[in-house]
């Protein structure tokens, strides 16, 4: 079974603090994602990583950065937390949609799997 874990279920921080949210997956997935979920706004992609040290901005990257030093771990960093970053943060992982079999790109099942979420409150 795929397992995606997140470092905390609940977190309370103060405005201006640097905050680290950690995510680990055990399925050797190339892709990892960070989303935030807010009432009425659904899930929005913050950042996406498709390989170690590779990242791509999502829809709402402002105020966030990420780090992917190892394949299994993807960290979301709030450099200076603000109250408008109070939210539910969800991490996910998947295989890349195309694999390489004997030099030929082949489509793969790239079902996305989610961690349990971190509910962050910034006071």
């Amino acid at each position: 079974d795929v397992k995606v874990t997140q470092s905390s279920r609940y977190l309370v921080k103060r405005t201006g603090e640097k905050v680290f949210l950690e995510c680990v997956q055990d399925m050797d997935h190339e892709n990892m994602f960070w989303y935030r979920q807010d009432p009425g706004l659904g899930l929005r992609l913050i950042y996406f990583s498709y390989d170690v040290k590779m990242k791509e901005k999502g829809d709402i990257p402002e105020g966030y950065s990420v780090s992917r030093e190892k394949k299994e771990r993807f960290s979301l960093i709030l450099e200076s937390a603000s109250t408008n970053q109070t939210s539910m943060y969800l991490c996910a992982s998947s295989s890349r949609r195309l694999g390489h079999l004997t030099g030929v790109q082949t489509p793969r099942n790239n079902e996305q799997f989610f961690g349990p979420g971190t509910r962050l409150t910034v006071l």
Partner: protein
Amino acid sequence: GIQVEQSPPDLILQEGANSTLRCNFSDSVNNLQWFHQNPWGQLINLFYIPSGTKQNGRLSATTVATERYSLLYISSSQTTDSGVYFCAARLYNTDKLIFGTGTRLQVFP
């Protein structure tokens, strides 16, 4: 970009009833997933269904990619089925999912 719309936004059922949730998407997709978000916020994978029909117990899903919609059927609903159901679609040439706004289901005894 692609739009993913779900209907109805809210659904209230009595235990034992059947229901159909719909997901429409505005462009051709290469992946369609259904999730259930439980009361603790975790997204549980229900179906990975780019096309065709799949069944898992009381739940089944059908995606008609050529007509750009997917349906999730819940039969003999139980109180534990309560929560928010999301569909999410992936465009060709990307690994990212676009989520719908969800259907909130409440099942009462």
